[in-house]
């Protein structure tokens, strides 16, 4: 079973710090939501309010149509996972997963059956009797996932669940969590500060900054059509061109413009409407090179742009610092922000 969630005009004030400022959120049943933002943006507070671990100063929380604002966590029926795994160290993996079921007066046989099924799902059937200290971080986090799912929760809360893991394990576990989430059609809310994680996993990303929601949308929308400078800057890399220069170069009539480094075309030969620039720096980034280009214009002012060039292309073109190159900023790829947020 899966439920929708609704956050309505929620604010939270700690002493005098505003952690959340009038946040509204509608989460569909079965949706995978990522709360993304820099540390201190309020995303963890929002998660804790949904869990019932904190009380909002203002506003309401609904699970389905039920107002649960004053309901304690134990009556909200959710599963939760933490960065620290929070597995009980003195209990075996099996007992950790069975922990919530033992309290429900279930028959021992039923408990065993359900726990075994969960271990099959997380592909750790051979590790049931191990203690958490005898497992790797990735295995522990999978057990924590099974524990969270054991009581058949209505929704799942993930608090930076992958941040403590090695890069490789993190990526494989991303896939695994997503698959299980899709299979169970379980409403899931994940807090993360890692944009790659959010972009690859989420159905919808909620970007937060300074206690407010900056933008809500699919990963593509967030990346391709950021609604403000914060979102554009926070996700991926981007070149900003201030409003005076934008107007001078003819990129926009009003406001600041921006373009992502991989959208800029670069070549040795001049083509129509190209700008001449000089390479000031080349940074090797693995599968691409980040080339810094300086466009010099006495009247309009200098433009310093980062351009991402696939490594093979860059190699073929034999770029060097101080080389003259030609770049093109496709209009359709440029973003315009009329006001500063």
């Amino acid at each position: 079973m899966s439920v929708s969630l609704k956050i309505s005009n929620v604010s939270k004030v700690f002493d005098k710090n505003v952690a959340l400022n009038n946040v509204n959120l509608d989460i569909q049943a079965g949706e995978f939501i990522c709360l993304l933002g820099p540390s201190g943006c309020g995303k963890s507070t929002l998660l804790r309010i949904i869990a019932g671990l904190e009380q909002p100063s203002e506003g309401k929380v609904y699970i389905g149509d039920r107002d649960v604002t004053n309901l304690p966590p134990s009556r909200r029926n959710f599963g939760i996972m933490f960065q620290s795994y929070a597995l009980f160290p003195n209990l075996s993996a099996f007992e950790n997963v069975a922990y919530g079921l033992r309290n429900k007066k279930m028959k021992t046989r039923d408990i065993e059956e359900r726990v075994n099924r969960l271990f099959d799902m997380i592909k750790l059937s051979n590790a049931k009797n191990r203690l958490p200290s005898e497992m790797s971080g990735g295995e522990q986090q999978r057990v924590a996932l099974a524990r969270a799912l054991a009581t058949e929760p209505d929704f799942l809360l993930l608090d930076e669940p992958l941040s403590a893991l090695d890069a490789k394990v993190r990526i494989s576990l991303r896939k695994e969590i997503c698959n299980i989430q899709k299979e169970l059609k379980l409403t899931t809310i994940m807090v993360t500060h890692d944009q790659d994680e959010a972009l690859t996993m989420a159905d919808r990303i909620i970007v937060m900054n300074k206690a407010v929601v900056m933008q809500s949308g699919t990963p593509e929308e967030i990346y391709e059509k950021p609604e403000n400078q914060f979102v554009a800057d926070f996700i991926g890399s981007i070149n900003f061109i201030d409003d005076r220069k934008s107007k001078a170069y003819g990129f926009s009539q009003k406001g600041e413009t921006a373009i992502r480094p991989e959208k800029i075309a670069i070549s040795r030969e001049k083509q129509e409407s190209d700008m001449r620039g000089k390479i000031t720096d080349i940074e090797f980034r693995g599968f691409y090179d980040r080339v810094s280009v300086n466009v010099n214009h006495i009247i309009y002012g200098d433009l310093n742009l980062a351009v991402d060039v696939p490594f093979q292309t860059a190699k073929a073109m034999e770029f060097h610092v101080n080389d003259n190159v030609f770049i093109k900023l496709p209009r359709e790829e440029m973003l315009t922000f009329e006001t500063r947020v």
């Binding site: 869990a51 009380q55 134990s74 929070a86 009980f88 160290p89």
Partner: protein, 576 residues
């Protein structure tokens, strides 16, 4: 109004359990810590008939020449023993933590022995060594033992273990990177000591100085044995209260005794905060580098200290198995036959002491653990938790003598006259007076803070999300407490239990005011046997208490080692 209603709605059954538990602990501390202390304060401003006399009692006290002598005497011996014990402890812990010394474990344990014995034992050993017919006196090493010299030696040994413990912690918190940086700049050993080591341990050093000062300022056991006519406050207050039944004057002395303890408490609070902030989380542990001459000197120093320590206890052991020093040196175990002690029934006293220690340890451990758990692992009741925390660490600032004094004043009164009014309250706790329960309560209050801190530290190490996870799984907190938190805190709980037991068994400063002749206890009996000239049976009783405590400690260490080993084997099995 609406908000309150919402708040109540948000409260679950579990919250009520938590609330009641916090209040149970708070009420205990208010009844048996705050109320007795208040009684003590009130008494100091009253005359014998309970009339308010302002500072008259204080004026009377300070106008009496002998009383003022007692103050200056106490300061003198406390300062001298503090300097001696902390200096020795400084080099001892430096040698053990920063030098290549063999048998470190052995040296450490030997240095800790005084904790396990009543302070009277140190006095008795001193008498056998330096008394009128002492072993070393006979060899020509005569010192004026009875009086300040004896007290200073005994207190120095008594304070040595606690100073060592504090300084070991301070020395262990070192950042090796600082030493490596100094080395690459070619810094001399002395300069490293002055610019890195000393500044690093200065907070620990200050803390050790204050704690040692408080210990020796308020101790009763050693001065009662080797003090002679040299009056100090702790023995003075005993004479005032038990000898002359002058409770009001006793209260005045109690307040004077409280001053250095409260000061030391405040200093300790400040320094421990700074100490923990001084070392960054990234610090690299100190690497001991071999250095022949200084390692040798350190080893010799540790050896001498341990030898002296063992000598003391060997002499006490010797005293307890000799018929009549120095006239009849035949071996005998008759001193251990407690039933024929002239000062009363030794066997009963011994039994009572063990019983009291076991009960104090059980109840004390439960109470402190519940208190620490509720304070550490609850989210609600912020103010109640803060108050309970403050009350929980306060006993650290109350010397045993003051606990005893305030208890006798609180429980002795059949009714409480409320000051400045006509009203009076019947004392519901009067019935406890004269039973072993008053001693149990005194021990629980007196030794409350250290086990409380042990429990808090252990609980802080446990992931705080365990409670969140169980809440999300709708498992009540007490089930998680039983299945996860308690098993994980088991070593700490054992340590708390042993701490309560060991200290309850040997303490004399508080209980000397509280025991009743109907139910005698061992440490008090030692004092009275010693006073009656029965030194050998007194020594035997001291040794018995020491043996029991050491045995208890050994069982605990064995248990802990066993558990560590078990965990290790399991871990290795997991990796294979």
């Amino acid at each position: 109004m609406n908000r309150i209603k919402e708040k109540i709605q948000h409260c679950t059954k579990e919250d009520i359990v938590r609330f009641l538990a916090i209040y149970a602990v708070a009420v205990f501390l208010i009844l048996f810590l705050v109320c007795p202390l208040c009684t003590l304060f009130i008494k100091a401003f009253q005359d014998k008939n309970g009339a308010f006399v302002g500072l008259m009692q204080f004026a009377k006290y300070f106008s009496s020449r002998s009383m003022v002598y007692a103050i200056s005497n106490t300061f003198f011996v406390a300062i001298a023993s503090t300097l001696i014990s902390v200096t020795l402890a400084f080099f001892f812990s430096y040698a053990l933590s920063r030098k290549n010394v063999p048998f470190k474990g052995f040296f450490r344990y030997v240095g800790m022995i005084p904790i396990f014995a009543p302070t009277m034992l140190l006095g008795i050993a001193l008498i056998y060594l330096f008394g009128n017919k002492g072993i070393l006196t006979a060899l020509g090493l005569a010192i004026p033992l009875y009086g300040k010299v004896g007290i200073i030696i005994a207190e120095s040994i008594y304070c040595f273990p606690v100073a060592t413990t504090i300084l070991m912690v301070a020395f262990s918190a070192a950042d090796n990177r600082l030493y490596e940086a100094a080395e690459t700049m070619g810094t001399s050993a002395l300069r490293k000591m002055l610019t890195i080591t000393i500044p690093n341990v200065k907070y620990g050093l200050v803390s050790a100085l204050f704690v040692a000062f408080t210990y020796s300022f308020t101790d009763f056991g050693a001065p009662s044995v080797v003090g002679g006519n040299y009056n100090v406050l702790a023995t003075d207050v005993y004479k005032q209260v038990v000898g002359q039944q002058n409770f009001n004057m006793g209260a005045v002395v109690g307040i004077i005794l409280l001053f250095p303890a409260v000061l030391s408490f405040v200093v300790d609070r400040i320094t421990s905060k700074k100490q923990s902030a001084a070392i960054s989380a990234k610090a690299v542990p100190y690497q001991i580098k071999p250095h022949r001459s200084s390692d040798f000197a350190a080893t010799v120093f540790c050896f001498i200290i341990s030898l002296a320590m063992l000598l003391f206890f060997a002499v006490a052991l010797f005293a307890s198995v000799i018929k009549l020093w120095p006239y009849n040196l035949t071996f005998t175990l008759s001193n251990y036959d407690l039933s024929n002690a002239a000062a009363g029934n030794g066997a009963a006293a011994f039994r009572n002491s063990i019983l009291i220690s076991v009960i104090s340890a059980f109840l004390g451990t439960i109470l402190t653990f519940v208190g620490a758990y509720m304070i550490e692992k609850s989210k609600k009741f912020v103010i109640s938790r803060k108050i309970t925390y403050f009350l929980s660490i306060t006993p650290l600032a109350i010397p045993g003598t003051v606990v005893g004094l305030s208890f006798i004043m609180f429980f002795n009164a059949p009714i409480f006259q409320i000051p400045f009014t006509e009203y009076a309250l019947v004392n519901p706790f009067h019935g406890i007076y004269g039973t072993i329960w008053i001693i149990v309560l005194a021990n629980m209050v007196h030794f409350y803070s250290v086990p409380f801190s042990t429990a808090t530290t252990a609980l802080k190490r446990i992931d705080k999300e365990f409670e969140t996870v169980s809440e999300s799984l709708a498992v009540p907190f007490y089930k998680t407490l039983r299945r996860v938190t308690l098993p994980m805190c088991f070593p700490a709980i054992c340590e708390m239990w042993v701490y309560f037991f060991v200290n309850s068994l040997v303490t004399v400063s508080a209980v000397v005011f509280l025991y009743s002749p109907a139910s005698p206890i061992a440490p008090v009996m030692i004092v009275s046997m010693q006073g009656a000239g029965q030194t050998a049976p007194a020594a035997a009783m001291c040794m018995l208490l020491l043996f029991i405590n050491l045995a208890m400690r050994l069982v605990y260490e064995g248990l802990r080692k066993h558990q560590q080993k078990k965990a290790k084997i399991k871990n290795q099995g997991g990796q294979g």
